[in-house]
């Protein structure tokens, strides 16, 4: 059985990933803005005895790739081996999409055109004649809607048909003057023994005429290069003169634009002017009200995250406490019992409690991604971001950073200029990720009045973002002189996400979160528990047991118990490690337990909470302060808590995020800088805040 390899290619935001999801059980990420997919992804589907390997590529506006993620797609198209190209286009903007289709047709591969979003076009009163379009382009055409799952199986059928059929003949030719030069250059290229395929030769010639450096590199080593180079130069000169244009790219762009126009004219009935998006935009990107509305949305999101998210918290907490008690009774006594009921269950419980908060935050980010408001926010903030040496498009990775820093680093690929991209990535860690949310919610609940909790959360997030911008500005001034890249961004129409899709996304996020809590965080909690319970100290125990024996009153006994537990913890491995690093954090008012928790956050930010839960679970016999929150409020003072928040806002993200950064940025100097500077900055900022609070007497 042969596997059929299919490459999905098209301009950004036309629904390539959605189409793949609709014909397979894959769950590729989709969103209503350009640049959702930034890395190629393979999906395998089976139909009968045939296997089809579909490769989802990042959207690409034209073969003159512009941004790094477009480069990924272009490189795949040119270098890899595949059987069929599936070119997805958006029915609403067929003409613009066909310009790129024309470039793909130059490649001379077997190709299918999928006209997606046909539902939207038809709703607006438009129509496309697929037979006519197919005749004009000379390739199979499928009308489809990934949203309504219309025509999607047709795509698979066409792939299977085309795979067995011979390659259809080329229908699209350019102006004869251009074709004449192409023919001439093609002959030279075909003289080389490496070239047998006239279609490929034609494609290379066209790309060379357009001064494509990637192709230039390929032909550079051929023996006929010198001859080719000379004739190429003459051809370019001649064409520029005859068409009175600055470059052959311009001539061909013009050619393709006219061809696309005429094809659309012959095969499409245009829709009535659609105005919903225009009407919404009148308000949402209003010159005066646009920004305040945006801030209001963000503020509301953080209010909801805190207030609504806190409602189910106590129930979840109760469930875990009960579960722990139940386990304690059925498991045999001993270390296993302790590590599970005292180590793992409370730690995992302490984190799962925050699932509702995290889901609300993700719902907000998801709405931003799916509705099309993302691009509007980028538009509104561009002027503001420019002041800090960034550009509007940087908003997309920055906002993804509120969810998780890992995909945010990847999303920075949509920035063309390497300096812009690096600056953005260096400050992305200051966008508080959702893993930090549990820590903040815990600390805010413990140290701030309830009516202000949502606002404090908002301030933390905005503060992180502003700090990021400030650092970006400094980096730009000190290290990366020069203007940021020009800002050109497509604004997609508003789309209303289906409730089902939203629920699905949240369900996936919840699953991932619970899985992380049940595996990675449970393991981390187990390690912390062992390190904090061993080595046992029999002498200490014996000494205290004797003293407890001798104690007269109940309260005295209790006090001695607490002292014993505290001393045991201090003499554990973790206690020793903590004591060792304590001097670093001492100026911030941290004791060794907070120091250890801070360091453990490098594994994953949630681990801070579980570590605190373990370290503060001991030594408190007071019935009224059973929750972690209350214990923290009792044993940590306000200014120390604020210093802790500041540290968490600024210091290095988790190891997963750091390794993503290392993978994306190859230069060792930048990797080193990235690893060190946030921690230094975090310490300095926390120290300053601590001293200020101390000075004002808090």
């Amino acid at each position: 059985m042969k596997k059929i390899k299919v490459a999905m290619v098209g301009q950004p935001n036309v629904g390539k990933s959605s189409i793949i999801n609709s014909i397979s059980d894959a769950r590729l990420h989709v969103g209503n803005f350009a640049g959702v997919t930034v890395e190629k992804k393979e999906v395998l589907i089976k139909r009968g005895d045939k296997e089809i390997d579909i490769v989802d590529l990042p959207g690409i506006y034209s073969l003159n790739a512009y941004t790094p993620e477009e480069q990924v797609a272009k490189r795949y198209l040119i270098e890899e081996d595949y059987d069929i190209l599936v070119n997805v286009v958006d029915a609403n903007v067929l003409q613009r999409n066909l310009i790129f289709t024309m470039q793909l047709l130059d490649m001379g591969k077997k190709m299918i055109l999928v006209v997606n979003m046909i539902d939207e076009l038809e709703k607006a009163g438009g129509k496309i004649d697929d037979k006519r379009l197919s005749e004009l382009l000379g390739i199979p055409v499928v009308l489809a809607s990934a949203k309504e799952k219309r025509g999607v199986e047709n795509i698979v059928e066409k792939i299977l048909e085309l795979y067995d059929a011979p390659k259809p003949k080329r229908k699209i030719y350019y102006n004869e003057k251009i074709e004449y030069e192409i023919e001439k250059l093609k002959k030279i290229l075909l003289k080389s023994p490496h070239f047998h395929d006239p279609e490929l030769a034609r494609f290379y010639v066209i790309r060379l005429l357009e001064k494509d450096e990637d192709i230039y590199k390929i032909v550079h080593d051929l023996p006929i290069f010198l001859e080719l180079h000379e004739v190429l130069g003459e051809s370019i000169k001649r064409l520029k003169l005859e068409f009175d244009e600055d470059s052959v790219s311009d001539i061909l762009a013009d050619e393709r634009n006219s061809l696309a126009k005429s094809i659309v004219m012959q095969s499409m009935i245009m829709p009535q002017k659609e105005t919903l998006t225009d009407r919404i935009d009148k308000i949402l990107i209003h010159p005066v009200f646009g920004l305040p509305i945006f801030l209001f949305f963000m503020w509301t999101l953080f209010q909801l995250t805190f207030q609504v998210g806190s409602i189910p918290m106590e129930y979840i907490d109760q469930v875990f406490t009960n579960f722990g008690d139940w386990l304690k009774n059925i498991l045999p006594q001993g270390d296993l019992n302790s590590v599970i009921t005292e180590g793992v269950v409370p730690a995992v419980g302490a984190i799962v409690m925050f699932l509702p908060n995290i889901l609300i935050l993700f719902l907000g980010i998801n709405l931003l991604e799916q509705t099309g408001y993302m691009a509007r926010a980028a538009f509104l903030l561009d002027g503001f971001l420019k002041k800090f040496g960034l550009q509007g498009k940087a908003f997309i990775p920055l906002v993804s950073g509120f969810g998780c820093t890992v995909p945010a680093y990847m999303a920075a690929r949509t920035l063309k200029n390497p300096k812009d991209r690096l600056i953005t990535m260096l400050v992305l860690g200051f966008m508080n990720c959702s893993a930090r949310l549990p820590v903040y919610v815990l600390l805010i609940a413990a140290f701030f009045p309830a009516h202000n909790a949502g606002n404090v959360l908002f301030v933390i997030y905005i503060g992180g973002a502003l700090l990021g911008l400030l650092v970006a500005k400094i980096l730009r001034e000190l290290l990366f002189k020069g203007e940021p890249e020009p800002f050109v961004m497509e604004m997609p129409p508003y789309r209303f996400p289906s409730l089902k899709a939203l629920a699905m996304e949240l369900w996936i996020k919840a699953k991932i979160f619970i899985k992380k809590a049940g595996t990675f965080i449970a393991a981390a909690a187990m390690i912390v528990w062992f390190l904090s319970s061993y080595p046992k100290n029999p002498e200490l125990l014996a000494e205290y047991e004797a003293r407890i024996e001798a104690a007269v009153s109940e309260s005295q006994k209790k006090a001695l118990y607490n002292e014993l537990a505290a001393k045991e913890l201090e003499s554990s491995y973790l206690g020793k490690i903590g004591k060792f690093i304590e001097p670093v954090f001492e100026p911030l008012g941290f004791d060794w337990r907070l120091s250890v928790a801070t360091i453990s956050g490098l594994a994953a930010k949630e681990v801070i909470v579980s570590t605190l839960a373990t370290l503060y679970a001991v030594g408190e016999a007071d019935e009224t302060s059973s929750t972690l929150r209350a214990k923290l409020a009792q044993s940590v003072d306000f200014k120390t808590a604020v210093a802790l928040i500041v540290i968490i806002m600024i210091y290095s993200p988790c190891v997963a995020a750091m390794s993503t950064f290392y993978a994306e940025i190859p230069q060792w100097a930048w990797r080193g800088f990235y690893t060190v500077y946030p921690n230094v900055l975090a310490w300095l900022a926390a120290f300053t805040v601590y001293k200020i609070l101390e000075f004002v007497g808090l």
Binding site: Q11, Y61, S62, N64, Y66, N92, V93, Q95, R96, I99, F100, S247, S249, D250, A253, D254, N257, S258, T277, D278, D281, I285, P287, V288, G290, A375, A378, F379, L380, D382, G383, K386, Q391, G392, P486, F487, V488, M489, E490, M491, P492, P493
Partner: protein, 75 residues
């Protein structure tokens, strides 16, 4: 010659020439901002730093510098 900066909001004009350099020019062309197409000015921000235009059904956000490089003629 008139550029997009000189257009009024909601005005439609025909694109005559793009004076931007490559690769910005290529990017504009790929988004449909090419010679001969109709362009409509939709909006700009308060300080006229960022502009939004519509070409053949596509909305595009641009900076002042890019908008200034799109030459248009009235229709």
């Amino acid at each position: 010659m008139k550029s997009v900066l000189d257009m009024k909001i909601s005005e439609t004009a025909r694109i005559k020439r793009i004076t931007a350099q490559e690769p910005v020019k290529g990017r504009l062309t790929a988004m449909g901002i090419a010679k001969g197409n109709l362009i409509k000015l939709l909006d700009h921000t308060l300080k006229k730093q960022t502009w939004e235009v519509e070409v053949e059904g596509t909305r595009v956000a641009l900076r002042k510098e890019e908008a200034a490089s799109i030459m248009v003629e009235e229709i």
